[in-house]
């Protein structure tokens, strides 16, 4: 498909239309896109790089890239695919930059049961509230996602939280739909192992790391 026909096929995307309006000089259209996508982009990045400050900076940078590329913008894909590609690239760059600085202090700890369980911050809690349990589940899920290799993690985030199709994920990750299928299969297998173990241990008070 040549550039002209591909551009025409994506102009039905309402977000592409907003971007083209912005290209014509309507800054309000850009703000509409930002209002719609900023929270999603922020959380997408945050699930990948669990630092609020860094995530905010990267989200700002992603939209700055969109803003600066307005004159050369030619719709080659759905707007959200393009936007998430920018966010993905920035996140991966940041992650690789941080890897050089050493291992994360938040790396999960392997328990005697063989499962990966995150330490509870409040060791003195005897009767955890529902909120705390919810928070703990969130922490466990977060840890399980962070355990995944980069590409599997990226595929999971795009599928589970952004509901992109295999083809859209492939475009975002610059790979094939077949490769995405394989990534998600392996990612789900890893998540099943990690989260199934947590579910088996159940009660937080039985966590051996909390005793003593």
């Amino acid at each position: 498909m040549d550039n002209l026909s591909s551009a025409k096929s994506y102009e039905d995307d309402p977000d592409v239309k907003l971007m083209l309006e912005f290209q014509a000089g309507d800054k309000a259209s850009f703000e509409k896109l930002m209002v719609k996508y900023y929270p999603r982009i922020l959380n997408f990045i945050y699930r990948f790089i669990p630092s609020r400050e860094v995530s905010e900076d990267i989200a700002q940078e992603a939209f700055m890239r969109v803003y600066k590329s307005v004159q050369s913008y030619r719709p080659q894909s759905k707007f959200n695919t393009w936007l998430f590609t920018i966010a993905k690239n920035l996140s991966l760059n940041e992650l690789r930059k941080n890897k050089k600085k050493g291992a994360s202090l938040d790396a999960p700890i392997k328990s005697s049961e063989g499962s990966f369980i995150r330490q509870v911050e409040d060791k003195n809690a005897l009767n955890p509230s529902d909120d705390l349990i919810q928070s703990e589940v969130s922490q466990v899920v977060k840890a399980a996602i962070e355990e995944l290799p980069e590409n599997q993690r990226m595929a999971v985030l795009l599928r589970r939280y952004e509901n992109l199709s295999y083809d859209e994920i492939a475009k975002t990750m610059n790979t094939t739909a077949k490769a995405v299928k394989s990534l998600l299969s392996r990612a789900k297998e890893n998540l099943k192992v990690r989260l199934a173990s947590f579910k088996k241990s159940g009660d937080l008070q039985e966590n051996p790391n909390q005793k003593g």
Binding site: P39, R52, M64, Y161, S165, K188, L191, R194, A196, K199
Partner: protein, 181 residues
């Protein structure tokens, strides 16, 4: 299809990304095989657990922070260019500037030509009426030089003379020539 191959397809089956034939196979097998059904349930539950991942709210000032960054990064001339590009004055400013430049150049050219013609005219008029005055003025300005030259010549003559009488008469002659007396 055996359990091992069915279990490989379960993750993609749950994403509804299998073709019709494979979808039918997995559905049929898991309805009959307890172990594979259990495996499917575990995949589904761990996938559903991802809903528990807490989201964060963006900084409430993210929009103003963004525009501040935009203005800080953009040089002043780009701000002006952007205003022109966005059509703030695109339909009026550029043509107006072009016309203004043209008019200015034309005016300057005409003025210069007028000045030049006027000066030529003045010079011509000056030549007709005041040529003699200018000539006289030139003589007066150079009179000292003329006198010096004449005096020197005369002095040379005087030097060559032997008697006072001859000197006196020569002096008279000098006066006559210099002052037209």
């Amino acid at each position: 299809m055996d359990c091992q191959n069915i279990r490989k397809l379960i993750p993609t089956y749950l994403d509804q990304e299998l073709d019709n034939e494979q979808t039918a196979m997995v559905k049929d097998h898991t309805s009959k095989c307890v172990a594979c059904q259990k495996e499917l349930n575990q995949y589904q539950k761990s996938w559903d657990m991802l809903d528990h991942l807490q989201e964060i709210e963006p900084d409430p000032h993210y929009m103003s922070r963004f525009w501040t960054k935009v203005s800080e990064e953009k040089p002043w001339y780009e701000t002006i260019l952007d205003n022109i590009r966005t059509g703030l004055f695109a339909n009026k400013l550029i043509p107006a500037l072009a016309v203004s430049c043209f008019l200015f150049v034309m005016s300057f050219t005409v003025f210069q030509r007028y000045q030049s013609a006027n000066m030529d005219q003045q010079i011509l008029e000056l030549s007709k009426e005041d040529y003699d005055v200018v000539s006289t003025l030139e003589l007066v300005e150079n009179l000292d030089i003329i006198e010096d030259i004449d005096l020197i010549e005369e002095l040379d003559i005087i030097d060559s003379l032997d008697t006072t009488d001859n000197l006196q008469s020569e002096l008279k002659n000098i006066r006559k020539r210099l002052y037209h007396v």
